[in-house]
């Protein structure tokens, strides 16, 4: 299956397993290092949690598993655990000399795959590879079916429409996904039918909506898979499903934040935004505070008011910009806008940006009332995390969030309804056969959908004056995107590409990297639909009904 490990392994798994050990106690660090080496693992040690995080972010696929102590001076081990789980989705093992049930429980609740008591024995370390393997298998199951197929679809559809550069972006967009996904994707080639994939949780619009509602209800800060699961009250859904979906969602949000950065000045000449997008992309990494429920993520990212769509994503620098831009728009729909943005951004899939940008994005949300940014308060902590959130899950969540948000803006993208009206611009129509079926196209589709959604949004924002522009831009952007994804059913697409690992077209990576792909213009269009990547390429056949889909579709856990 996909490469599981980014670095080539000449030996048989688990030999060469890349372990990152984090412990402030130098004695233990040395002992563990020795023990792990004896297991033939590749060990990296560090004594500070922050250092560990930066190491992880630097090399996204550089490690297979993280072992961390619970008590550390600079950061709580549980927090680190959360970050790693969200940003990198790596298995994390906690260690402590304290074996109190409550602590162990806390570890497990925060997502630790194991909790070891010190003193640690060699034999305990020998078996840690099982966690890695388990995770891979789970991921594989998650990815299957959705992304790959959709992604392919999108690529396929879009490829003929865009020139190389655009296409390239799309490629990047897709390649952003986790390595697993990429592998899957590559295997599929375009047009391959992944329909044979195993059944995986499909985050339909409704489901995603429930998810976002739950998230909003809990409060983005306090959100946790278990809580969400409980609130959602979907019997067949597992905590893992929610957890991975949540992760994606967060990534998406952070991405949106990044994108929201002013760089995305989509308002006019989206093309310009392209470049800004690019910048934004870079910023993605900045913000990524992993989905940490920061302040209002929605703000920043959601407030795409269309222009800033991209900006939201960028956390760091963008915030200021976004704010500016956003201010133009109604502040209120911040959330909504953000959501939109997030959506679009999601397409980028790479949430490098921290949610911080999302804050500013919030403004955008304002613009798009419907975009109710998922309640996730993407409070951006403004942490310049380099969270490379490849998943766009947040995108969808954003959408859903929107609906959930108070703003009621019309139900976030989904509701697009209000905007639908606006979107008179035919240009953007989300041409994609709304067939939500595209699960095959997976990501690609989602993009389309997102774009579609955006369109309406943009139209909505049009009043802001961008509408027309958007329209025009959008089209141009789409082309730029080159992805020409045939966003069929938006929601599906969104889902598909959002985080489906496999489905994203290669461009995905790029897309994520550069906010560019999103073409600022696209964003201006309003809905932060994840159309970043999506936009390209698909004709926007604005279908009001699509919006709602987007939200959900985006986030296919």
């Amino acid at each position: 299956m996909e490469s599981g490990f980014s670095s080539p392994r000449s030996d048989v798994f688990p030999v060469g397993l890349r372990v990152l050990v984090v412990d402030d106690d130098p004695t233990w660090l040395k002992i563990l290092e020795k023990m792990l080496k004896k297991c033939s693992y590749e060990v990296t040690t560090c004594c500070l949690a922050r250092e560990a995080l930066s190491l992880l972010r630097e090399r996204k696929d550089g490690y297979d598993i993280v072992i961390s102590d619970v008590n550390m001076p600079d950061m709580d081990g549980f927090k680190l655990l959360e970050h790693v789980g969200l940003e990198m989705d790596l298995p994390v093992i906690m260690m402590s000399v304290d074996g109190e049930t409550s602590r162990v429980m806390k570890g497990v609740q925060h997502g630790a795959c194991d909790y070891l008591l010190k003193p640690i024995r060699m034999k305990e370390l020998r078996n840690i590879w099982q966690h890695v393997l388990r995770k891979k298998i789970q991921e594989g199951r998650d990815i299957e079916g959705h992304d790959v197929f959709e992604g392919l679809q999108i690529l396929r559809n879009g490829s003929d429409r865009y020139d190389d550069s655009q296409f390239l972006r799309v490629e990047e967009l897709f390649s952003v996904r986790k390595r697993k996904d990429v592998d899957k994707y590559e295997e599929k080639e375009f047009g391959e039918t992944c329909s044979t994939k195993k059944a995986r949780v499909v985050w339909s619009v409704d489901l995603h909506q429930k998810f976002v509602e739950a998230v909003n209800q809990i409060g983005f800060d306090k959100v946790g898979p278990k809580k969400i699961l409980d609130l959602m009250n979907v019997p067949w859904l597992t905590r893992e499903n929610v957890a991975s979906h949540l992760q994606k969602y967060r990534l998406y949000l952070s991405r949106l934040q990044k994108e929201n950065d002013p760089k995305a000045c989509f308002v006019v000449g989206m093309k310009q935004t392209d470049s800004s997008l690019k910048d934004g992309d870079g910023n993605f990494s900045v913000c990524s505070s992993l989905g940490v429920p920061q302040t209002d993520v929605t703000n920043s990212s959601f407030s795409f008011s269309g222009d800033n769509f991209l900006q939201n994503v960028d956390s760091i620098g963008c915030e200021a910009d976004r704010k500016r831009v956003v201010q133009e728009q109604t502040s209120e729909p911040k959330r909504a806008a953000a959501t939109e943005l997030i959506k679009t951004r999601c397409t980028h899939m790479k949430f490098n940006n921290s949610f911080a940008s999302v804050e500013s994005e919030g403004k955008l949300a304002a613009c798009y009332p419907w975009v109710e940014a998922p309640q996730m308060k993407l409070k951006q902590e403004s942490k310049p995390h380099q969270v490379q959130i490849n998943q766009l899950p947040s995108v969808s969540s954003i959408s859903s969030g929107r609906s959930a948000t108070e703003k009621d803006k019309g139900s976030s993208i989904e509701s697009k309804a209000p905007y639908s009206e606006d979107c008179s611009q035919p240009m953007v129509h989300l041409n994609p056969p709304k067939a939500s079926t595209d699960s095959c196209s997976g990501k690609a589709k989602s993009f389309n959908e997102i774009n579609d959604h955006f369109e309406p949004i943009s139209t909505a924002t049009a009043p802001l004056g961008v509408k027309n522009q958007n329209v025009i831009d959008l089209s141009s952007i789409s082309t730029d995107l080159g992805s020409g994804f045939p966003f069929s059913s938006f929601d599906e697409d969104l889902q598909g590409y959002l985080f489906q690992d496999g489905c994203y077209p290669k461009n995905l990576e790029q897309i994520i990297e550069f906010p560019d792909y999103g073409d600022p213009g696209i964003f201006t269009e309003g809905p932060t639909h994840l159309y970043d990547a999506m936009r390209f390429g698909y004709e926007y056949s604005y279908d009001p009904t699509e919006y709602p889909v987007i939200d959900e579709g985006l986030f296919i856990a």
């Binding site: 106690d25 130098p26 004695t27 002992i31 008590n71 402590s96 304290d98 003193p119 060699m122």
Partner: protein, 150 residues
Amino acid sequence: MEKTQLRRQLANIRQSLFDQGFLDEQFVQLEELQDDANPNFVEEIVTLYYRDSSRLIVSIEQALQKSPLDFNKLDALMHQFKGSSSSIGAKKVKAECTQLREYCRAGSGEGCLRTFQQLKKEYTTLRKKLEAYFQLARQAGPIDSACRPK
């Protein structure tokens, strides 16, 4: 012959450390980690432990001098110390740490102070014993000073 005697002596000392409860299984783990790549691994670890923990001891002493005692801080420090001590298998020291933490939770300043004195005693005793042990081990030759079949 002398070496053999030395080694036997070494083995006895080592055994007594276990028997008297100064060391636990963790020490054996460390010995097992020792290999050609790290022939003095155990000694290195013990040295590292004493170096690092001496700083901790100072912090704990400082904390104990405050009035009123900040039990939370003390507890946190003790937690750290306990974790550290577990790394070399310092059994008695660990036991004292646990005891001290109990007193912290109970809010007994006197209990904390008393236990800490005890802890320091164990800590120092162990260090001396281990120093002697390693010295003998070096004399006895580079075979597994841990006397544990690899």
